[in-house]
Symmetry: C2
C-alpha cells in the first residue's frame, strides 16, 4: 500500500539523541488531528497509541478503511469530545504508519534499515512527539492520554516535561515492564524471528515477508488482551460452522478461527520489524529505574493532575501495577485520581465500549477543563 498520500508528516529537523546513543535528524513523524485548536490554544490533547496502534485514532483509517483504534472513546460528542478538544495523535517512531521506522530507507546503502534501525525507547518516542507542541504552537497541552504502551508514554511525557500538560490519563499500564510482559513480548519476537522469511530483518529486499511469524505473534498477544472469563463467555467451546468435532487440525472451535483471523488481518497492516522494535521499547521501559528506584521522583516537578485507570480483568497490566503509580504520586502529595473499572473484557477494555470507563474519562476531562475557565 502507498501510504504517503494519506499520511501527514512532520519532518523533525532538530537532532534527537536516542537512548541507545545514536542521534537522528530530519526524520518524519506521521500524525493526525481531530477537532479544532481554539484561539487560546489551551484545548489540545496528545493521545498516545499502543503497540499496534497508529495515528488514526478516530474516524475511518484511510489505509485500513476500518474505524480508528479509539473510535469508541474519541470523536464528536464522545468521551474525548472533538467538538471541544483538539486531539493530536502521532505514529511512534519505530512504527510503520509513516513515522521513522525500520522500513524507512537507510541512506548509507539506499535499502530499508531493517534491523540496522536503532533500537528505540519509550523515552525516544515521547521526545520525538514533543516537537508536535512546537509545530502547533501549543505552550501547554490540556491533557496527555493513552492506554497500554500509550499509558507508558503518558508517564514518560509528564516526567520529561513536567509543566507541559495540565492533566494526564495513563490507562491500563505500568511504570516498569514486568518479567511476564517481557516474556510475552519475547515470545512474539521469537515467533517473527523463527519465520524463514524474516532473514535477520532484511526481508524487504527479498520481497517475501515473515507473515506467518507475525501472525503467530499477533495471536499470542491477542490472547493476552482478553480475560479468561471474557473468552469463555464469548467463545467457550462453541464450534465454527460445524455440528461436531472434525478430528483434524482445522479450526474446529470458534476461538481458533477468531485467532487465525486476527493473525491474518494484522499482517496486512503491520510490519514485522516494527513489531520487534516497539515490543523492545516496551520491555526496556522502567521509569522507576530511570529515577534510581524511586518512582515518585519521576513526578516530583510535575504540576499535572493525574487520573489513573485500570480494569479488573486486565491480567497484562493488572490493577496492582497501576496502583503502584498512584502510590508513588500520593507519596509526594500530587493530585491523583484513580478508578478501577469493573470489566470482563480484559486489557482490551480501554479500546472497547465500556461505559463506566468512557464516562470516567469524559467527566474527568470536562470537569478539569471547566475548572480552569
Amino acid at each position: 500500500m502507498n501510504k504517503t498520500e494519506k499520511v501527514k508528516n512532520l519532518i523533525i529537523d532538530k537532532p534527537l539523541k536516542l537512548d541507545c546513543g545514536k542521534t537522528i535528524v530530519n526524520f518524519p513523524l506521521a500524525y493526525e488531528t481531530y477537532g479544532q485548536l481554539n484561539e487560546k490554544r489551551d484545548n489540545a490533547i496528545l493521545a498516545f497509541h499502543a503497540l499496534t496502534g497508529d495515528q488514526f485514532a478516530a474516524e475511518i483509517n484511510p489505509i485500513t478503511k476500518k474505524e480508528g483504534w479509539w473510535s469508541n472513546a474519541l470523536g464528536p460528542g464522545k468521551a474525548i469530545d472533538t467538538n471541544k478538544y483538539f486531539v493530536i495523535c502521532a505514529n511512534v517512531i519505530g512504527g510503520c504508519m509513516g513515522s521513522y521506522g525500520p522500513s524507512n530507507i537507510n541512506p548509507e546503502n539506499s535499502k530499508p534499515f531493517g534491523t540496522n534501525f536503532p533500537v528505540i525507547t519509550i523515552n525516544d518516542m515521547v521526545n520525538a512527539q514533543y516537537h508536535l507542541l512546537e509545530f502547533f504552537k501549543i505552550d501547554k497541552l490540556f491533557s496527555v492520554v493513552g492506554g497500554s504502551m500509550g499509558g507508558m508514554q503518558v508517564l514518560q511525557f509528564v516526567s520529561n516535561f513536567p509543566n507541559k500538560s495540565r492533566t494526564a490519563i495513563p490507562i491500563a499500564c505500568t511504570a516498569s515492564h514486568s518479567a511476564q510482559n517481557i516474556a510475552l513480548n519475547e515470545l512474539g519476537r521469537q515467533s517473527i524471528m523463527a519465520d524463514h522469511n524474516w532473514s535477520n530483518g532484511f526481508y524487504e529486499e527479498n520481497k517475501k515477508l515473515p507473515d506467518k511469524g507475525l501472525a503467530v505473534a499477533r495471536m499470542a498477544a491477542h490472547i493476552t488482551y482478553l480475560s479468561k472469563k471474557g473468552l469463555q463467555e464469548k467463545f467457550g467451546r462453541k464450534l465454527q460452522e460445524r455440528d461436531d468435532l472434525k478430528f483434524s487440525f482445522d479450526a474446529d472451535f470458534q476461538i481458533e478461527s477468531y485467532l487465525r483471523y486476527q493473525g491474518s488481518v494484522f499482517v496486512d497492516r503491520f510490519d514485522a520489524n516494527s513489531y520487534l522494535y516497539i515490543t523492545r521499547a516496551m520491555d526496556y521501559f522502567d521509569l522507576t529505574k530511570q529515577f534510581n528506584g524511586n518512582l515518585s521522583k519521576a513526578f516530583e516537578k510535575s504540576e499535572t493532575k493525574f487520573f489513573i485507570i485500570s480494569f479488573t480483568s486486565d491480567w497484562l497490566y493488572p490493577t496492582s501495577e497501576n496502583r503502584d503509580i498512584v502510590i508513588a504520586l500520593n507519596a509526594i502529595g500530587k493530585d491523583v485520581g484513580f478508578a478501577e473499572i469493573t470489566s470482563d473484557k480484559g486489557h482490551d477494555s480501554f479500546l472497547l465500549d465500556v461505559p463506566d470507563f468512557l464516562n470516567a474519562i469524559k467527566n474527568f476531562l470536562n470537569t478539569s477543563y471547566n475548572k480552569k475557565i
Copy 2:
C-alpha cells in the same frame, strides 16, 4: 536418538476403536514401572503424564539423561513412595517416547504417519492404557494420579472404569478445556505449522525438522506454566550476564534467555507432530459434554475415593475449574477431598518441590492404603 533399546513396550493386540471412528490394533504402548507389585496385587498406582511428559516419571530418564518429570513426588520414601507402591506410567498414544504416534511408520506407504496419524482423544489414551491392568494382572488399582493433562486422564479413567481404582487424584486440571486453554494450544500449533520445515507434518521425509516453530510453542506454553508473581520474583528485570541494556534483539533479560533455553532443549526431546496431536486431545477434552452437560453423571457408577488438588497461582487450570469437579462429586454424595495449595509457582507447582502439596498426596495415599488393611 535410538529409543528402542531403552523403552519397554506393550504391544496391544486387541483392536481399539478411537473416538475419530478409526480402529487401531497391534500398536505399541511404551511404559515404565517403579517399585514392586505386591502379592495381593493391590498396591499399583497408574500415573498419567502431562502434555510434554513421558513414561519416565522418576529416576534418570535414559533418553534425556535428566531426572524424570515427577522425581519430586515419585520415588523411594517420597510422596508416592515406590518402597510401598508399584507405579506404572505409560507414554500416551500420540506421544513420541515409544507409544504409537505420528512418527511411527504408516504401513500403507512405509513412511512416518505424520499428519495421517488419526486424531486421538484423552478417552483414547486412557482406553489404551487400560490394557496395562490386564498385562500386569491387576484387578483393581490402588490409585490413578496425574496433573494437568494427567489429571484429565484420571477423570476419564474413573469415568470409563468406575470400579478399577480405589482412589483417584486429579491435580491442577479441568473437566472441560476452556476457551483460553484452547487458544493457548492453538497458538502452539500455529507456531509449529508456521515453520517452513513443518511441510504439512511430513517433515521426517525431508530430514529438516520444524524446530524453530516447536521452540516457540514451548516458550508460549512455558509462560503459562508460571505465575506472574513467580516470574517477577525469579526473574524480574534482571539482566543476563551484562551490566546494562545492549539496545539489540539479543537476550538482554534473564527471562528471555531462560525462555530461549527452554525452547532449545525441548526440541531435542519432543516431536512437533506429537505436540499437535496431544494439544488437540486436550482441547477436545470435555467430560461434561460426554455426559450431556451433567458432569456428576461421569462419576455416578464410581466407587472411587477422590482427592482433588489445585494451586492458588495456577491461572491455566485455576482453582475454580478444579472446584467444579468437587461440586459435581458432592452433588451425588461421592467421597471427595479437596485441597487448594498455596503456591506462587503457578501451574508448574505439581511438578515442583512444594512441600504442602507433596505432604497432601503422601498423607492421602498412606491413610487410604492403610484403611483397607
